[in-house]
């Protein structure tokens, strides 16, 4: 081979330029690519097809499945994770997201009525599910407006659109901020590139169940879109007024503006009409509550290299709440919680490698939340909070057997100042399939707008009617009316502090490949302090205690009775120790068992009427494929005695059996499935609080699904 530095005939330049390519890098020059492209086109036009060359084997290709695009193996996640995929959701027969979460160890599904399904991890502290962060495609769906609840937000996704649900069990504030105190429910909807064509389903059955779903998807390799709509209705629990109808319309677009970029755009509207109230409670009569959510969301990702990615996400949510009625005793009193809430959430995240064994992610975020509601906040102005956020995590693999994650999340809250949630988690692969995990994390929950700024007042007018009414509350209201004072139901003075949770955990993840069995165990100690609670206070601060007025009314029975104003404060908290595990076993190709168990001991640091979680809960699921494309599923859950929200009303231990039988078939080239589900097949069981008399009745329903 001639040496380059000794001879370079100028006359060959043209020749060289014409025919040389950057072969050492194995990349075809642009001219060649254009030429090849033209040839391919010409060939295609002529009906001749491109033939392979050695370049098909040797050409360098960009890394498509980069680290950030890959789901992290469960053995390497900094914490316990339960993943429920689309197929399992379908085979579970569940109609609500909260119902699906029964398949997650440590989760309790409930709801203060059947129209407000919630799921709580470990501790059913509240009726609204405010201590879990629920994300749908990365968009937080807790309510900015009211109690910060997730029950309605969780209903705002069509189960048929979901690709998978990843539940990060245990506090994740170090990665997701203050709302993730008890974990994250991460709902990922299907990429619209996977839902081209038409899909429909209809469900009908007992309990006034009538559900329908339709979607249409279209697009090509570079841009795909989906429009899906659904309506779900049922009569809720037995023995209460909680019928619900939720109608939704969602749009998702997935675009690839360049090979290294992805753009996702989502928009949706959900409208709920939910039964609420009781026929015997004047202050909470039977009525229909309306809720409407509109959201817009966008996410842009750019991949600079295999390990270097930037993500920009933005979402906007607006909800309107419509719940108002006239107080029967004094119809001049309009009891209302109607209003509007909004949230803007922005986030920029950057993943990169600091060294081959040291991976970093950092990001900044901003959220703004406001609510406008004269009934709840006693002002026509918007009540708002905003928070600047900074987060980061280092994943260090200093040894092939070790993965250490250290990270934290700092928030700067407009009302409550700053908080910082750190986490340290180590995963040790004892053997390739056996991983031990240990970690510490601290997290916080910032008070909701309602806990910070609520001021609910009623203005009684008809004191005569109130004074003769039966209850002490009414008579006190009468005093208020007589003295021309507002009657205060809720008052938040803004002094409530953040809740804090400190968690220590050890875990084990084992994969027994020969048996097709995986097991994930988590043992933990969780200490919660400064828990935010609603208290019935003797008097509203700043208001005249009505003793003098009572005298005026000459009603001695009311002397010493206070105006029951609900305020928010911090109490000491509790300590809970527990162990939970999830086992998944596929003994045969068509057989799959899931076993979840959770054991827990809780000690409250203050002796109060506080909720107690069940000491044990077991869920066994059996999914069986049968001959002739039949499919059988069974989920049995047994939960020990527990209380929702308050200790005085204990729910006895319960068992629930759900059964599903389905048959898949084809109609021409379309795939279809018919299924029958019986929920609570073992008979009705009590739910929420025994005192309410609510029950989950046995109900059967059928579903027909078809995909073109």
């Amino acid at each position: 081979m001639p040496s380059a530095d000794r001879c370079r005939p100028a006359s060959t330049d043209f020749f060289v330029t014409m025919f040389m390519s950057d072969a050492s890098k194995m990349k075809r020059s642009m001219a060649q690519q254009i030429l090849t492209g033209l040839l391919v086109l010409l060939h295609a036009g002529a009906g001749i097809t491109a033939e392979p060359t050695e370049l098909d084997y040797f050409d360098a290709l960009p890394t498509v499945l980069t680290v950030s695009r890959l789901a992290q193996p469960i053995s390497e996640t900094p914490g316990a994770v339960t993943v429920i995929d689309r197929e399992t959701i379908r085979r579970s027969g569940a109609r609500e997201l909260a119902d699906v979460l029964r398949l997650v160890p440590g989760y309790l599904a409930g709801g203060f009525n059947g129209a407000n399904p919630v799921a709580a991890y470990h501790m059913p502290l509240d009726d609204h599910g405010i201590r879990n962060l629920v994300l749908i495609d990365g968009r937080p769906v807790y309510s900015a407006y009211y109690f910060g609840g997730t029950s309605r937000g969780m209903m705002g996704v069509l189960l048929e659109d979901i690709e998978r649900i990843e539940v990060l069990r245990g506090s994740n504030s170090a990665a997701y901020g203050a709302n993730a105190m008890f974990g994250v429910i991460n709902v990922i909807t299907r990429n619209s590139a996977d839902t081209h064509g038409i899909g429909m389903s209809a469900t009908s059955g007992e309990g006034s169940i009538k559900d329908s779903y339709a979607r249409i998807g279209w697009g090509n390799e570079l841009a795909s879109f989906r429009l899906s709509t659904g309506r779900r209705s049922d009569s809720g629990y037995g023995h209460t007024h909680d019928d619900k109808i939720i109608s939704q319309l969602h749009f998702r677009g997935d675009l690839r503006p360049a090979h290294d970029q992805e753009l996702m755009f989502l928009a949706g509207v959900s409208e709920l009409a939910a039964g609420d109230g009781f026929d015997d409670k004047l202050g909470n009569p039977e009525r229909t509550v309306g809720w409407r959510n509109v959201f817009l969301q966008g996410q842009w990702k750019r991949q600079f290299s295999e390990f270097n990615e930037i993500k920009l996400a933005a979402s906007y949510d607006e909800e309107t709440y419509n719940d108002a009625f006239l107080y029967p005793v004094d119809p001049s009193i309009r009891i209302s919680s109607s209003g509007r809430g909004r949230r803007l959430n922005l986030e920029l995240q950057h993943n990169f490698n600091l060294a081959p064994d040291l991976r970093a992610v950092w990001g900044v975020g901003y959220k703004y939340e406001d609510a406008v509601s004269r009934p709840l906040y006693n002002t026509d102005e918007a009540v708002s909070i905003h928070e600047q956020r900074l987060f980061g995590n280092l994943e260090w693999r200093f040894h092939p057997q070790w993965v250490v994650n250290a990270g934290g999340f700092a928030g700067f809250h407009s009302e409550k100042g700053s908080y910082f949630s750190p986490r340290l988690m180590a995963n040790f692969h004892v053997l390739p399939d056996h991983t031990l995990r240990a970690g510490l994390t601290e997290s916080s929950r910032m008070p909701t707008l309602f806990e910070l700024a609520s001021d609910v007042r009623l203005y009684p007018q008809n004191w005569a009617a109130l004074a003769t009414a039966g209850s002490a509350t009414d008579r006190i209201a009468a005093i208020m009316a007589f003295s021309n004072l507002p009657f205060r139901l809720f008052y938040a003075d803004g002094h409530v502090a953040k809740e804090e949770l400190e968690s220590q955990e050890i875990g084990y993840f084992g994969n027994f490949r020969r048996l097709n069995l995986t097991i994930d165990v988590r043992a933990y100690i969780e200490k919660v302090r400064d828990l935010i609670v609603a208290n019935n206070h003797g008097s509203a601060p700043g208001y005249v205690f009505p003793n003098n007025l009572l005298v005026l009314l000459a009603d001695p029975t009311l002397v010493g009775t206070s105006v029951p104003v609900v305020t928010f404060g911090n109490m000491s908290g509790y300590r809970t120790r527990g162990l939970e595990y999830q086992l998944r076993w596929k003994p045969l190709a068509g057989t799959e068992f899931w076993v979840n168990q959770a054991f827990e001991r809780t000690t409250w640091t203050a002796d109060a009427d506080m909720p107690m979680p069940p000491t044990h809960a077991t869920t066994i699921a059996w999914f069986q494929k049968l001959p002739y494309d039949f499919d059988f599923g069974l989920i049995h859950q047994s939960i020990g005695a527990m209380t929702w929200n308050k200790a005085s009303d204990q729910l006895p231990s319960r068992r629930q059996l759900d059964v599903r039988l389905a048959k898949q078939f084809r109609i021409g080239s379309s795939r279809a499935e018919a299924a029958i589900v019986v929920q609570a097949a073992n008979g009705s069981l009590p739910v929420y609080q025994t005192g309410t008399g609510f029950s989950l009745e046995r109900r059967a329903f059928g579903t027909l699904r078809i995909e073109f």
């Binding site: 081979m1 001639p2 040389m20 050492s24 097809t49 040797f58 890394t63 590139a193 081209h196 090509n220």
Partner: protein
Amino acid sequence: MPRFFRHLALACLVYMTLVLEVAAAPRIWVALAEEGGPYAEAATTLKEELGTDSEPYVVHWRALLTARFEPPDLIVAVGVAALDGVLERLGKGGESWGHVPLLAMLVPQAVFDARLAANPAGRRPFSAALIDQPLGRQLALVKRALPQYQRVGVLSGPQTRLVFDALEKEALPRGLTLRKTPLVNATEGIYPALKQVIDESEVILALPDPSIYNSASLQNILLTTYRARIPLVAFSPAYVKAGAVMAVYSTPAQVARRAAEMVRQWQAGRGLPLPQKPREFEVAVNERVAASLGLWIDAPNLIVDDLRRQEGGR
């Protein structure tokens, strides 16, 4: 700057070819499709394997167009462009070039078959050290590395459909069933076929067919199969790096060693053997993708050893 030196090197090569035109022609010419890269690796190995006796002479194939050599005893064309260039040169070379044996190296079987059909060799011995893996080896890889799967999906393109029958024959004894799609349609694109193959298969075997697997479609295929949690078994380490779960392939040096065996056979007077697929091979596994799909795949060297044993301990 490196490009400048490469240009310079080729210029020198051409210059020397012209200067040396009257010198005694080497008996074996190795014509490269391009400088550097896999071609250089293959040529270097071939030279090493053939030893000093043969002294193959390595040139860029374009040098042959202008050279006024006496015909060599054997031409080894490395790569499709080189093969086509050499065939063109031989076609114009007159009687004396008509008999020169030609060994194509690093070319796919489809190309070799097409050129053989288009250029009836006449008196010229024409064979190839092919780049393609035997179909049986690719299926053996699936069986060995992912024994839990039976349904192997293949996207049908104009090239792949030519080998379906052969693939089916290899699949059957291994307990694998082949799920093939209707021919990928130029107007509808790859999506409907991809959707069908994902629905029906547990693992997808990619075969080189530029109308299906190309740099434009790759992202779509890898992302879609990954979302469906279907592993893609490909044919090159580049695909594995991009996101395929594994591949069986031969390096240019390994193909060159096969070519060297064929040349030695020719040197021994036994003529050029029939086209041969590489005997040596490698397996690449993308552990990260495999782990993310919940797959446990043995170390590549263990798989290679097992596959070799299955192929007869060679």
